[in-house]
Every structure is written in C-alpha cells, then in structure tokens.
Symmetry: C2
Subunit: 248 residues, 2 copies
Amino acid sequence: MNIILVDKLEIQGGRVLLVDRRAKHLIKVLQVQAGDTVRVGIIDGPKGRGKVAALCAKYPFQVELEVQFAEEMAEKPPVDLLLALPRPIMLKRIFSQAAALGVGTIFITHAQRVEKSFWSATLLNEEEYRPHLLQGLEQAVDTRVPEVSVHERFKSLVEDVLPEKIKEYSHLLIAHPGSPATLKTLIPERPGRILLAVGPEGGWIDSEINRFVECGFKSFSIGERILKVDTAVVALHGRLSERRESLS
Amino acid sequence: MNIILVDKLEIQGGRVLLVDRRAKHLIKVLQVQAGDTVRVGIIDGPKGRGKVAALCAKYPFQVELEVQFAEEMAEKPPVDLLLALPRPIMLKRIFSQAAALGVGTIFITHAQRVEKSFWSATLLNEEEYRPHLLQGLEQAVDTRVPEVSVHERFKSLVEDVLPEKIKEYSHLLIAHPGSPATLKTLIPERPGRILLAVGPEGGWIDSEINRFVECGFKSFSIGERILKVDTAVVALHGRLSERRESLS
C-alpha cells in the first residue's frame, strides 16, 4: 500500500478517520507515529498528503489523518483491455495487475472457449471486483479506478457497443498467435489510445477473429510461446508501453 | 499443458509410460484416444510428437506414448534475471512465468530489504522449484529449463560471480524507479544477451545500486508507477523483448 485511498465522503472537515485495513497497515506495516506524513489520494480524485493527527496503535486500530490534496488525478491511461472472461482466480489477479499497470477500461465478454460457469462468478459484481482494482492503485500510487464494462453476449458487444466505442482509439489490436504482424509493423508512429483484445485459454475462434476484423481490429503476434492470460496481459501491456514510449 | 515434458531416462525403446499428472491431463483434459498424437519434448532436449499407443482412462490413469523427436531445442533466451529474493509465494509465480516467457538464468541474491526469513523457504531447493519451472515450459511449449543460481551473500555475488559472468552480456540493466534513463536510450542498437536486475519490495538501497554500477550495470526507469515484483518482472520482460525485436 504505497498510497492510502479514501472515498471523498470519508473526509469531514479536512480529516479522515480510518478504522479498517488501512489503519492496520499504517500502524503495523508503516509503523506511523503522530505527526508523520503519508501519501493519500481521493478515489477518482486528486492525490495529496495526510498528517497523522491521532492514532490507536492497538486493536481496534484507528488512525486520524489531516488531509490536503494538491496533485491532480493522473490522465486516463492510453491502453484499454478487452478480455474474454478468464477463470475467476485469474481475473482477480488481472484486475489488480491491470490497475497497477494503468488501464482505462476493461471490457469483458464471452467467447466460444470461455467456460459458461465462469459467468456465475460473484467476482463480476462491482462490490466484489472493486477491492482488487483499488489494491492495484494502492500499489501503483494512482487514484483513477479503471472502468469495467461487462458484456455477456459477444454479439451485442461487437454489434451494439464497439461500433460507437472504437472511435476513441487510434489502434484496435488483437493478440493472436501465428499472426505475421508485430507491434512494430502495426504502430509505426506515435499512437493515440489503444484497445487491446486478449482471448481466452485456447484463443478466439476464427469467427470471433473475423468479427473483430470487421470492426477494424488488426491481429499481431509476440512469438510462438503460449502464455497464460494473466501473464499475457502484463507482457502485452509492457510491450505496448515500450512501443508507445519509443515513438514519443 | 501445451507440451508433455519427459525426462530422457523415461524413454525406453521409443516409448514412454506416463502414470502421473501428465497421464491424468492427457485423459481428463485433452481426452486423448489411442492413435491420437500430442506434442512431447525431452527436458533440456529436442521437441517432437507422441502417439498414444495405449491408455487406461480410469484411475490409476496410464498413457503409453510412442515418441519421436525431430525438432531441436530452442536457443537460450536472450534475457537473464537477477532478483533480490522475493517472498516465496511470489517467487513461485515468478519461476513459472519466467520459464513461460523465456529466461536463460535466474540469479537470486540477498538485499538489505529482503526479509531474512525468506532464506529458509523450502522453495529454494531445486526439488521444490523445478516443478514450477517445468509448468512454465509446459505452458509455453518449450523444453529448455532456466538455470537457477542462488547466492545468499550479495557481496559474494557481486565480487566473485558477476565479474566473470558479465562477459556474456551486451547490456547489464537495473530497473530503478526515478532513474532518468529509459530502455530506448540504453539500447539504441540490436542488443546481445541482457542481464536484468530487479530489486526487492521497497527497492535496492543506494550502496547496492552503487555496487551494481561498479560492475557495469546501468539503471533505467519505466515510469512512476510502483509495481509488485512479479508484475514488474513480466512487464519488464515484455518491454525488453519489444525493444530488442523492434531493432532487429
């Protein structure tokens, strides 16, 4: 936890009283004392500093912070993800890692090779997935929560949602093993925002790829190695970031 | 499991009898039948094909494969890692992800900010970590097992081991938040082999960085976000790979 994230409703007269895992972390891990200063951010808002005004160092832990916010929220990250719903344990890790790496929106949809049972995962409720996103932000010192956009019907995503959405992007990309193209060939100049589609274990089927191509997506490969979805998401984000920054 | 890995000692007269998790995977997940062909590789050896000669589809699962190996082992990957010992649960994931991404050698050493208790982890025994490396190779369809080189004393690593080892590399890099350099500035031309050092949670301390710099390492940053070690390893590997391939 490299920043303490608070909801703006928690701030009363320039102070926040923490009584949950954040208080415990400040006391047990960071071992703060009265007068110490820590990084604080408002969820989907600015970043700033919190001065420890009072604390109870024994269970039940409490920390009261005097907070000030002088640093604007970071801009929306330039990469969005479109995922075929992964198994819940993997999706949990992807939520926190994507939030840590910086992702604007995470679209989630069905695909032929997604197990139907994954759609009953409680993790698809905002109440369940939001803590994983916040953990990633706490790690990366960010306050901007990635949007999550869930579309159980693939057809409705590609026919109703994407045609409007894709106007935001300069590049629509699908990672697809065996494709002859690379990021270098597809992104020759400084790109705008990018939407990156990553398939399920076993990959998208041909008709799904075709639907994406009809929407304007281009496929590329990063080599012959087959990666798990969570590894692939982080490795691809790294590659896209490197490609983008090398062209600045 | 996208390839079945076997030890060369398991091959008898062109056949392998599988009775462990590999047999179970072939039967329960891949649902093979007699006559089917699957990808097989010899650990640290060539890749090839295995034809299902016989099987027992009920517990205790058994699969007998007739094997042939026509494809040479992949070359040693161009990136090696040097890690400050991470906590065991994270190291386990790094072993399988690094093997999946392709890494030649994983050096592990101590650092000021590594908890001493991590050194008593059973995971540091080859018998314990090797299965995680093999899982990564099974995922990525590779047979070359990354070397693991453990040096509990940092001083001995930098004074006795690195001076000889570093001759193999064209680039010695440390990921270090706040450094003004980037991969683009440090790797302007097609690189040879690269050794990438990734610090512990909280980072290397200044004197450790200085020792690395004396050995010839150069530090670089990938931005302000603070990443967990396992996320950082995969993201950095992706960035290095993209940088390398864009210069080919």
